[in-house]
């Protein structure tokens, strides 16, 4: 049954995914080409001097002398062979660069999303159970505060407090370099680096999910089937868990799935603030240095991740909500 659902979702999404990806690649390619300056300028600038001839030679070597259309075709042709080109500035293949950064970004984003979901649903549930009473009001006020704070600012304040003033948590990087921890110590070390950036990234979303869960739970309580459940003599806790929460999770997972893309974007800022060696900081570097091959690769992978997230959400949805008939 579950496997059947997965196949259904995939057969529905994959045919759309390929043209979508193609569109994203071409569009991003063209947009980036519209920016003034190219990577030859950056290399020349870093070298400190350049003649017109050396620039032309450099452009020819990098394929920048071709027409725009030909450049797109070359890029796509390479892409088919899973070759995203080389970083003109760093010399390394783009795939190597990106895949080296992917695990850290995924760890950050997935931790943030998971934390936001768990905390948000829990808080929203508590709020709905005490709707209108002081726990509800108190959490509401805190949520508005969190909602209004930009994540990077929360991150900076956290660095000031926990790293600078109290010295409890490291403020830069994703692991102690050269410490070579094993097992449990390794886990704790990673966790100490992860806590602040993950929280900074997730609190905004936790606030959204809390409000969403609260209203969804309150709405579910009004439904006839909740009266049916009560009339069966079920314990209120069973009613909440088995009957209410599952219905309330449907809108929350939909929204959370759509947020994965936003979070990848938000991670870019947070990674920069915390010196987190992920795709976000790599992207920022490549924008500043006009290293378009790397940037394109990152955009490509991000859209791939978003599409993947949508597939996962679809599968989750069809499990949570059997009314969704996948054709």
């Amino acid at each position: 049954m579950a496997a059947g659902r997965v196949v259904k979702v995939l057969s529905k999404t994959l045919p759309q995914a390929v043209p979508t990806m193609l569109g994203i690649v071409v569009l991003n390619f063209l947009l980036l080409k519209m920016l003034p300056g190219d990577v030859a300028d950056t290399i020349a600038m870093e070298a400190g001097s350049a003649t017109a001839e050396s620039m032309a030679a450099l452009r020819e070597r990098l394929g920048l002398n071709l027409g725009l259309f030909d450049q797109v075709l070359v890029y796509l042709n390479n892409l088919i062979h899973l070759d995203l080109g080389k970083s003109a500035r760093l010399g390394a293949p783009v795939t190597t660069l990106i895949l080296g950064r992917l695990p850290d970004t995924l760890m950050l984003v997935l931790t943030a999303l998971g934390f936001a979901l768990v905390t948000g649903v829990l808080l929203g549930w508590i709020m709905s159970a005490f709707a209108g009473k002081w726990p509800d009001r108190l959490i509401s006020v805190v949520l508005i505060f969190v909602y209004a704070m930009p994540g990077f600012w929360l991150g900076l304040m956290a660095i000031v407090l926990f790293s600078v003033k109290l010295g409890w948590l490291p403020s830069n990087g994703s692991a102690s370099i050269g410490a070579n921890y094993q097992g449990w110590a390794y886990f704790i070390d990673r966790l100490r680096y992860l806590v602040m950036p993950a929280l900074a990234l997730s609190l905004f979303y936790a606030a959204i999910y809390a409000r969403l869960t609260r209203s969804a739970m309150l709405e579910v309580q009004q439904q006839d089937f909740m009266r049916t459940a009560a009339a069966k003599g079920l314990h209120p806790i069973v009613m909440q868990f088995r009957h209410a929460l599952r219905n309330a999770l449907i809108p929350v997972t939909t929204v959370a799935g759509m947020h994965l893309g936003n979070m990848l974007g938000g991670a870019m800022v947070i990674e920069t603030v915390f010196g987190w060696p992920g795709m976000g900081s790599l992207a920022l570097d490549s924008v500043i240095n006009r290293d378009f091959a790397v940037l394109l690769g990152i955009l490509l992978l991000s859209s791939l991740l978003v599409i993947l997230a949508n597939v996962i959400v679809d599968i989750l949805q069809s499990w949570l909500d059997p009314r969704i008939e996948l054709r």
Binding site: D224, R227, K232, G233, R323
Partner: protein, 332 residues
Amino acid sequence: MKTVPVLEVLDLAIGFPAARAVHGVSFEIHKGEMMALVGESGCGKSLTAFAIMRLLPPGARIQNGQVIFDGTDLATISPRELRRIRGNGISLILQEPMTSLNPVLTVGVQVAEIIRQHQNLSRAAAKARVLELFDLVGITEPHKRYDQYPHNFSGGMRQRVMIAMAVACNPALLIADEPTTALDVTIQAQVMDLLDKLRRELSMAVLLITHDLGVVAQWADRVAVMYAGRIVETAPVQKFFSAPQHPYSMGLLNSSVSNGEGAWHYTNHRLSEIKGSVASAAQATGCSFAPRCRHVIAPCHGGQPKLEAVEKGWLATCCRAQNQEERIHEFA
């Protein structure tokens, strides 16, 4: 012979913070009996039904009265004791089969749930019992149906699922709040036939809430008519249809059922064609039906009349009904 009623509601009053909606309702239901509660929309039928199981909507509260079931007053027992009675001693069927089942759980799970709540059965035994119940209520291919979701069922089939759920623990009393209103006429008859068969087989008492006097005439034993939060007449069905005592009952009969050759035909009319509208139950001086009554006499403004016997087992709140000379003989 005097038997103890299955359910005895005594002077039950239900109110919202703003106003009282049900003003002291009393009735009793005996074993195996189907009692119909009829009345216009908004007269408090559902509130009365929900109050019996203490399932009132937020804001509504039982303000007075008792609900005696099995020797205890349900209005005052602990939530824990109440949970033992809900679904087990008394069960409930709601009007809207489309929304009264949880859309994200299979129907099998939802019926098995009530069995496992009240009986110490294994998962497998509960499932076997559910399949048996599906068979009983006429759900074909019970094995296949067990794992399906409510949206795979038609309205009539969902109501059968609700009925299977309601009778799963052999309750002494079944409350059905307009169980057939949302269904089309042929399905209505099937569902009512099923309820009727089950109450005989399981000797359940049934409190049937309905708009439809055709349903009452065909399936109920006794009828209680509610108007603006009060019961205005309660009578055995045949007597009620041949000589209603309360002017409101007469109006209901005139407006909703065709009376050809003494037979009460099945019609789908609603009880809305009486002139005027439900008087605000809050205005308490005099009989609450007086503003709409065609037979008002001086005593009608003297105070809210009590429910008094016309005959044994036949009560009405009309001051004219108790008085032979003043009786209205509209249906004679």
